[in-house]
Amino acid sequence: MTKTKPARYGMAIDLDRCTGCGACMVACAVENNVPPARPEATPRTGITWMRVYQISNGAESPDTRAAFIPILCQQCGHETPCAAVCPQEAVEVDPATGIVDQMPQRCLGCRYCMTACPYHARYFNWWDPRWPAGMEKTLNPDVATRMRGVVEKCNFCHGRLHAARTRAAAEGRSELRPGEYVPACVEACPARAIVFGDLNDPESELARLARDGHSFRILERLGTEPKIYYRTERAWVREAAHA
């Protein structure tokens, strides 16, 4: 049986293009059946697999400027902290894709992984998901809903990976062509700020962007080898991300 080459999917996010519009946050929630907030939800207890943060250059008005940083699971590739601490083996790094797989069905809700994640990219279902009456009809059939008591996080839109692979299989292909599989946030960004691809493919746009001098990773010194690269030509943004 043909085996596909292992991929290492990653992203390069251009912070100079991001306007903080939140289309990526919304597209992510729609794709992954993330429920609307309860009235009691706060930035700490809400579920936002993709979250855009706002930082400031700290200058006096009118020289104050902002930058917007979309944070999602960084898909750590080396000694993945959440995978290392999970007592249930509900987190696994998929060798075929490099994606850190989170299995909400195995999760027992201890939230140890949330503590371990240096990027605060994991979210807990404090409440049962509730949609306004009738809105369940708009749920995405390619993603399972979760119930309260389990942790969930970005998995690079695995439902889309399934769908892309299925479509390729229908044509007899086991390899995906570049661009055939993109997560929802990548497709939705009006500024085209997010580039998605396979870091193992040296010809891919992502691999080239990851190699150049404007790209950096957040908290690189921790050595978790995240697969999300951020790009900026503004020195103050780069310094803020390293702080």
Partner: protein, 183 residues
């Protein structure tokens, strides 16, 4: 003699009763059997109509599996009776004439969090329908579906849980990570 070992005999009797109930009664009683709404014969359609599996159970262009065909597939031939059997007449009266979709029971209904792709198994792994579905294609009647009483999950004899899937995947070196099959 019985009085001497009364306690032990009763204990063993209890064990025996439990073992019998657990291995013989429980595996049958835990499932609810639900008959299919239409007494369909694969054999007749294969023999007389020359139909092959993929004529009705198609994989669409986007790779998704059409599953059990919708009524229009049946109506395309059975708008009028094709034979003389009573079960065909009943089928036409109940479903074709009022244009009502047949509420088929699914034998191996996947839970919401499982993603099974016929496209991978048929088009990439080149598995034959019989390898998983057995002699279903040659049967004259449809077996009843088994539904587990407590969890309402499908209780197919071969595919109880993911062990059967995992074993085959391990043997063939296919994808084995969690999200390869789970949503």
């Amino acid at each position: 003699m019985f009085e001497e070992h009364r306690g032990k005999i009763l204990f063993l009797a209890g064990m025996l009763a439990a073992l019998t109930a657990g291995w013989r009664v429980f595996p049958v009683a835990r499932y609810q059997t639900v008959a299919q709404p239409v007494d369909f014969s694969h054999k007749i359609h294969a023999d007389k109509a020359g139909a092959k599996c993929e004529d009705c159970h198609t994989i669409r262009d986007d790779g998704t599996f059409a599953g059990v065909p919708t009524l229009d597939k049946c109506s395309s031939c059975h708008a009028q009776p094709m034979g003389t059997s009573a079960r065909e007449k009943q089928f036409i009266d109940r479903y074709v004439t009022p244009n009502r979709e047949i509420p088929w029971q699914v034998y191996v209904r996947q839970p919401q969090n499982v993603y099974f792709s016929h496209a991978f198994h048929v088009k990439l792994a080149h598995l034959d329908c019989h390898q998983c579905h057995g002699a279903q294609g040659e049967s004259d009647t449809l077996p009843p579906a088994r539904i587990e009483r407590i969890s309402s999950y499908s209780g197919s004899p071969h595919f109880q849980d993911m062990d059967a899937c995992e074993n085959c995947h391990r043997q063939r070196g296919a994808a084995n990570s969690c999200l390869a099959c789970h949503k």
